[in-house]
Subunit: 189 residues, 2 copies
C-alpha cells in the first residue's frame, strides 16, 4: 500500500507557476495559474502578495534543483577544465529534451524586460551562482583572466540555452569545440 502525500496549496502554486511560466511565458494569467494549481484566487492572495511575488518565489524554489543539475559537487575529483565541461555536457543533454525551452532564468529576464522585477532579481541571483562557479574553476584551472573566462562561459551557456530552447540549434557537436577554443585561449588545460 502506498501513501500519497499531497502537497499543500503553497507548494502547488509554486510548482504550477514554475511549470506554466516556463511552458507558456510569464504572461500566464492568475486565473489559469490558480485553476491549474487547484487553489482559489482568494487563497493565492493570502499566500502571495501578488502574481509577481508568486513568480519570483517559484523561481527561487527551483534554484537548488538548478544548481544540482548543472554544478558538479565540490568533491567531484575532476579537474577544473572537466568540471566546467561537465556543466555544458548537461546543457547539451537538456537540449535533447522535447519540452526544453532554454534556461528558465534567462527566459524570465528576456520576457519581463525589467531588471527590477522581483522575478528578474531572483533569476539574476541564481545565474550569478553559476558565474561564480565558472570564475572559481577558471581561477583554479590557471586561467589568465578568470573573470573574462567566466563571462565567456556565461555567454556560451545563455547562447546555447537560448538557441536550443527556440529549436534553432540542437547543440550536437557545437559546445565541445567552442569550449575547447575558449579554455585553450585562457590557458586552462
Amino acid at each position: 500500500m502506498t501513501t500519497e502525500v499531497k502537497s499543500g496549496p503553497r507548494q502547488r502554486l509554486l510548482d504550477t507557476a514554475a511549470a506554466l511560466a516556463y511552458r507558456e511565458g510569464v504572461g500566464v494569467g492568475v486565473d489559469a495559474l490558480c485553476k491549474a494549481a487547484g487553489v482559489s484566487k482568494r487563497s493565492m492572495y493570502q499566500l502571495f502578495e501578488s502574481k509577481d511575488a508568486l513568480l519570483a518565489a517559484s523561481l527561487e524554489s527551483r534554484a537548488t534543483r538548478f544548481a544540482a543539475l548543472f554544478l558538479p559537487p565540490p568533491d567531484s575529483g575532476r579537474s577544473p577544465r572537466e568540471r566546467i565541461l561537465d556543466v555544458f555536457r548537461q546543457v547539451e543533454a537538456q537540449a535533447g529534451v522535447q519540452e526544453y525551452r532554454g534556461c528558465p532564468y534567462l527566459a524570465v529576464q528576456v520576457e519581463l524586460k525589467d531588471e527590477d522585477h522581483p522575478a528578474s532579481r531572483v533569476a539574476r541571483r541564481v545565474k550569478e551562482q553559476l558565474i561564480d562557479f565558472f570564475r572559481t574553476e577558471a581561477a583554479s584551472g590557471g586561467a589568465s583572466d578568470p573573470d573574462l573566462l567566466a563571462r565567456q562561459l556565461a555567454l556560451v551557456f545563455d547562447g546555447a540555452s537560448a538557441r536550443a530552447g527556440i529549436k534553432a540549434d540542437d547543440l550536437a557537436g557545437l559546445l565541445e569545440p567552442t569550449l575547447a577554443a575558449l579554455l585553450d585561449a585562457a590557458g586552462v588545460r
Copy 2:
C-alpha cells in the same frame, strides 16, 4: 517650410507593433497597439488577419534595417575575419544603448515558445540570413569547418545579445577575445 509626410495606418501599425513588442513583449494587447498607433480595431482587422499576423509582418518590415545594421556591404573590401568582427562591433555598440533589450528576433522566439507561430517563422528566417553571412565569410576566410564556425558565431551573437539585453553584461572587452579564440581555432586569420 517642411512638408510632413504622415505614414498611413498600415505603416503605423507595423511600427507600433515592432516598438511595443520589443519594449513590452509579444503579450502587448490589441487595444494598446491600436491606441498607440491611432488606428481603430476595426481598421486593424481589415489590414491584418490577426494580432499574430501583425506581429509577424512587423518583424518582416524590420528585416532590411536589421541586415543593414549588422551585415557589412558586399563590397566593403575588408577581410572575412574583419567583416565577421564588424558584426560584433555593432552588437557591442547596440548594447550601450539605454533602450536595448537584445535581438528582437531572438526575444520574440523566446517569448512565443512556439516555433510554428508566424512571428517565430519570420524571426527564424531573418536570423538564418545572419548565419548564412557567417557561413559564407567563414568559408571565404578558410575556416576548417565553416558550418561549425557559423553556428559558433550565431551562439555568440545570441548569447551576447541576450545577456546585454537583460543587462547582465555590458559586453565591454568580452567579444573581441571571444571571437579571436574561435576564429583562431577555426584557422581564420
